[in-house]
């Protein structure tokens, strides 16, 4: 069977699996729709969180970005894992103890204010839509390359699948499909990584192969070879960094804190039965995530080594098959500037003009073909990319749907709505959100990882400070929280829009505030949020005694004061 046939088989099989699971785990009540009835085991929740968390950006784009950024790529590796430490230590156990369904629920009750609740809802919807657009785009890329359908049709097929199980199953359906999706995506990521590691270094564990010598008997370390190849072609050495230390610091911090503030991740910790379960499921989640995240930098180095040893100076007529296929999607472009019929691929320090443009998003998808792995592995990677994109999209759509049906309708405008009515509204909202996400997938505001990276800055600048203060500082009050959230997200969004959309020509270190790029500005927005929230709280009256009592209560584990029962 050829690559395309295998891809059809793998994708069709995995889709059938998700739909089967979704039918088995339908939601019957709002409690099941929002938080799977609060009855998910910590291990299952860890698996689902890992799939929910690892998006098309992690699976498709991240290794590719690292392979072009070298050491600086560590901002994504540390940023997207270190946040789980903050989550497990500072947020998850207390949110679980608090109970209820959503992050705006916590903000609204802790800050005893409908305005705070509505501000939190707006932030949640804003962050989630930014993020979900990137996922639908990832779905489109996979379909267009492997199944010969256009990116737009690919997005439509992806929408239909997500619609089916998110609308039908709610959190319960999503949780169990995400477990299946984690298995598909991790298998699809590890198989080619192990294959390539053996081919290049003779070492089956990619994390070790990454630091081993090459299998060609030369005794040279892989990373030394890669540094040498890069410098020869005029690129910076792979293991040396290019970004300034303060920019690395701020981007890493924004991604970490953003991870801990993302509503679709936070809400997952409401689904376990106990406070201790919330802690351990964050541990499970990070363990499952770390499996992919420690493999990705190895894949990045292998892919870069393969690319740099195959492509430069090859005659255009001799290019491998994968090159022509990706060229037809427009994601690889060759422009024979000196007309010699050979591909010159060079970096900024070389005298020879570069003739090749490679989209970073294709590295993981093209890697098995570059390394000439069997056709079934290529098909598997396509299915894995779809699993990653769909699982995250579903989690985000649920946040949007619960924000509309629960936080806005039930808690703000129509408190008397029946459980059945609320469930119907939640399903309709999920359906509409799928359509909006699909629209952004077809008309994307930027490429996958870039769009997603901004969602973190926005989450870091809005939710993290108010939730943290809400738990650890009893004196934090409603006005402080509202002013903090608005100033944090307002500043961050303004900075990003200014440099990315209004004045892209000014987007360079010389014009940035303290040398911080738009990717890292969320950290600064978070500091503003903290500063504003603390000063405004101190200048206005302290929260009522009942709220201070609530804070005392959520600090204790459940057997000392029982976890709040799940009733709306």
């Amino acid at each position: 069977m050829n690559v395309q046939a295998w891809t059809f088989v793998m994708v069709a099989f995995s889709f059938a699996l998700y739909i089967g699971v979704a039918i088995w785990a339908r939601a019957g009540s709002t409690g099941e729709f929002y938080v799977a009835g609060g009855k998910v085991s910590p291990l299952t929740n860890g698996l689902a969180t890992a799939a929910d968390w690892m998006s098309a950006a992690s699976f498709i784009s991240m290794a590719g970005i690292i392979s072009f950024m070298g050491r600086d790529g560590s901002v994504y590796l540390m940023g997207w894992t270190g946040g789980y430490v903050l989550l497990a230590l500072l947020l998850a156990p207390y949110l679980r103890k608090f109970g209820k369904y959503t992050v705006p629920d916590f903000v609204g009750d802790r800050y005893y204010s409908q305005i705070a609740r509505v501000v939190a809802v707006v932030c949640a919807i804003f962050v989630s839509f930014t993020y979900v657009a990137g996922q639908m785009r990832g779905v489109g890329i996979v379909f267009s390359r492997f199944l010969d359908v256009g990116i737009n049709e690919g997005v439509l097929i992806g929408m239909a699948i997500v619609f089916f199980y998110a609308v039908l199953g709610g959190m319960k359906g999503i949780t169990y499909t995400q477990v299946a999706q984690y298995c598909v995506l991790i298998f699809a990521f590890m198989v080619p990584a192990i294959y390539i590691s053996i081919m290049i270094t003779g070492q089956p564990v990619p994390q070790l192969g990454f630091g081993s010598t090459l299998a060609d008997g030369s005794g040279v370390y892989l990373l030394e070879r890669l540094d040498g190849l890069s410098q020869q072609l005029g690129f910076a050495a792979y293991t040396a960094g290019g970004k300034s230390t303060q920019d690395l610091f701020f981007i890493t911090a924004a991604l970490m804190v953003g991870t801990a503030g993302l509503p679709h991740v936070l809400v997952r910790f409401y689904t376990v039965p106990k406070v201790s379960g919330a802690r351990s499921s964050a541990g499970w989640a990070l363990l499952f995530i770390a499996l992919l995240y420690t493999t990705a930098p190895a894949v990045a180095a292998f892919a870069r080594t393969n690319l740099l040893s195959v492509i430069p100076e090859i005659a255009y007529t001799d290019v491998p098959e994968w090159f022509s296929k990706w060229e037809s999607t427009g994601l690889i472009r060759f422009d024979d500037k000196n007309g010699d019929g050979h591909i010159q691929y060079t970096g900024p320090a070389s005298d020879v003009e570069n003739e090749l443009t490679i989209d970073r998003d294709i590295m993981v998808l093209a890697n098995p073909e570059i390394a000439q792995l069997p056709a079934w592995v290529v098909g598997l990677v396509a299915a894995g990319g779809l699993a990653a994109a769909l699982s995250t999209a579903a989690g985000l759509l649920l946040v949007i749907s619960s924000a509309v049906a629960h936080d806005l309708l039930k808690r703000t405008f129509r408190p008397n709505i029946t459980d059945k009515g609320e469930l119907l509204v939640a399903r309709i909202a999920a359906g509409l959100a799928v359509c909006v996400a699909g629209y952004f997938g077809i008309n994307p505001p930027g490429f996958v990882a870039q769009v997603v990276a901004f969602a973190f800055g926005l989450a870091a600048a809005s939710f993290f400070p108010v939730i943290l203060l809400g738990i650890f500082w009893k004196r934090a009050n409603d006005r402080g929280a509202i002013a903090g959230m608005i100033s944090g997200i307002g500043f961050t969004a303004g900075y990003i829009v200014y440099f990315k959309f209004m004045n892209p020509e000014l987007n360079s270190a010389a014009h940035w505030l303290f040398g911080i790029s738009p990717e890292g500005i969320g950290t600064f927005g978070m500091m503003i949020n903290f500063a504003v929230a603390i000063s405004v709280s101190l200048l206005t009256p302290p929260p009522p005694a009942a709220v201070q009592e609530l804070v005392e209560e959520i600090r204790l584990p459940d057997h000392i004061g029982p976890a709040h029962e799940l009733s709306a």
Binding site: I66, R71, G73, S74, L77, M78, T81, G82, Y84, V85, A88, L89, L90, P93, Q207, F210, G211, S212, T213, Y221, L222, L223, E224, T239, G241, T245, L248, F249, T252, A253, M256, S276, R279, S280, A282, G283, L286, L287, A290, Y293, T294, P297, E552, R555, L556, P557, H559, I560, G561
Partner: protein, 89 residues
Amino acid sequence: MSRDRRHAYWRTNLRYLAVLLFIWFAVSFGCGILFVEQLDQIRIGGFGLGFWFAQQGSIYCFVLLILAYVWLMNRADKKFESRKQEPGV
């Protein structure tokens, strides 16, 4: 649980948090970003130590930190729970 014991439990928790978050900061921002060049002078196999922390080591430490916190807090929960039955508490 009495007010004092609640506070004792919370102080224990805060002490664990301070220690674990210090390690969290040291392995990621410290070893992976601030002192990466100096650590790169030390080599382990094909890796400079700073590069290894930035792309591998910090992530392993994160997993261990959460596991340590889970273990410590489960122990603390048990300790404070077992005295719940004592008379006068």
